[in-house]
Assembly symmetry: C2
Homo-oligomer: 240 residues x 2
DNA sequence: GTCTATAGAAAGATAGAC
DNA sequence: GTCTATCTTTCTATAGAC
């Protein structure tokens, strides 16, 4: 029951109808879960529309229609289009944040960077719409994301910069500019979500198969590791 | 007279006023150039608005206002919003295409790839708005760009893939997946245009200085060359 | 070529019956 | 919680005077 990523109008309508004829409107047991269910459902649909048309280009009517609901219901759950958009941005950031944690899974730069690249590639595959919403927001000037960028992303980046500089000092990473490396990782991995349509057009295929996406992931990991000059530390030569 | 990249409303209004009081409307000498001048001016303003809000999010009123013109004048020069958008996309592609030529400047992969990365970074710096329009269009599904992608970008990519495969066979490039390398180059270089707002927020600076952009360019070139394992061919060991 | 006025559709949001 | 009807604003595009 609770996988709500159905973003096609048809499936959604069907789902809505299912509960509709339980006409007794006040079963206390279900009240809270109706709200939760409708909110997540609307959020998933909103993510798809915001991804495709950006904040200004998206209309609440389109989102409601995709959700199989009247426009008024959308405004019942989310007072304004902006409030809905904020919730979507927040959701997307939480996943970004989860992937970011993989960077600290190991002190070996090969494992840490490799694992992070893998996590970001997996995210691009699993939730391309979220990545697109993020990209759209940044391209439009990031006006609604200053808080997230300054209070969450910036501190994360700064601590990772310090870590990368330590690796360089220890000789397990080439003397790269840490920010340039991180931007390269973000840009390259997110490209497979954001520029999906271009990749499809250029490859002539309808979609990248799971197998070829995995192969591409391996290749991206190899290339990023080569770019960064990462190597696993010799277990004995660490003098400090 | 003919540098029309002024995209601020104020400057544009001033420019418009200049010619306005030459009230004789039919000097044959000036007719054609008025059209050309207004068209390029509107195109520059449209590029800025489309970059910031995407095709659906942009309004002809905003574009006209930025150009310092009544909305009706915009429709006099460009019949529909879509026609205007197409012209912008076409302009942007022409510059992409010019940068693409640098790939063939040399048969040495270090020079060819390095030069191409430099050209793309320079383009990101010189015309970030164009890059954003492109990115927005792809994120939105590339519906208005299928022609350019299939007839212009795809053939270019395929011939470059062949070239890269030859380099690999000759041993002057690591055995990389050519498409993955090209996507990495595009993603990384365009990131400095498209994600400008994020970079600004994370660096805490208002804008990347010319000097630090040049340093970043050098670093990106080094990292891409390392990722691709490119090396200049020994002048003697070419047996064919 | 320029510009005011406006048509006709679609936008965000709300009222109020159920 | 749901949904029809509607308010107000803004949208693309055009008419028609100058």
């Amino acid at each position: 029951m609770r996988d709500d990523d159905t973003t096609t109008p048809a499936a959604n309508l069907a789902m809505r109808q299912a509960g509709a004829d339980a006409d007794a409107a006040h079963k206390p047991r279900r009240k809270a879960s109706i709200r939760a269910s409708n909110e997540t459902h609307l959020l998933a649909c909103a993510e798809a529309v915001f991804a495709e048309r950006g904040f200004e280009g998206a209309s609440t009517a389109q989102i409601a229609e995709r959700a199989g609901l009247p426009k008024a219901n959308l405004h019942y759950y989310f007072p304004t289009k902006l409030a809905l958009y904020w919730r979507v941005l927040d959701d997307v950031f939480e996943e970004w944040n989860a992937a970011a944690d993989t960077f600290d899974a190991s002190d070996d730069p090969v494992e840490a960077i490799g694992g992070y690249v893998r996590a970001k590639m997996a995210l691009s595959r699993r939730r391309p719409l979220g990545s697109k919403v993020w990209a759209n927001e940044i391209i439009s000037g990031a006006t609604h994301m200053q808080d997230i960028l300054l209070k969450r992303v910036k501190p994360w980046m700064e601590s990772r910069v310090t870590l990368i500089e330590r690796w360089i000092a220890e000789g397990v990473l080439a003397p790269v500019e840490p920010r340039t490396l991180l931007y390269m990782i973000w840009a390259t991995t997110q490209h497979y979500a954001d520029f999906e349509a271009q990749i499809r057009a250029l490859s002539g295929k309808r979609a990248l198969s799971a197998a070829s996406f995995d192969a591409t992931t391996d290749e991206v990991v190899r290339m990023i590791l080569r770019a960064s000059g990462a190597r696993s530390p010799d277990s004995r030569d660490r003098s400090a």
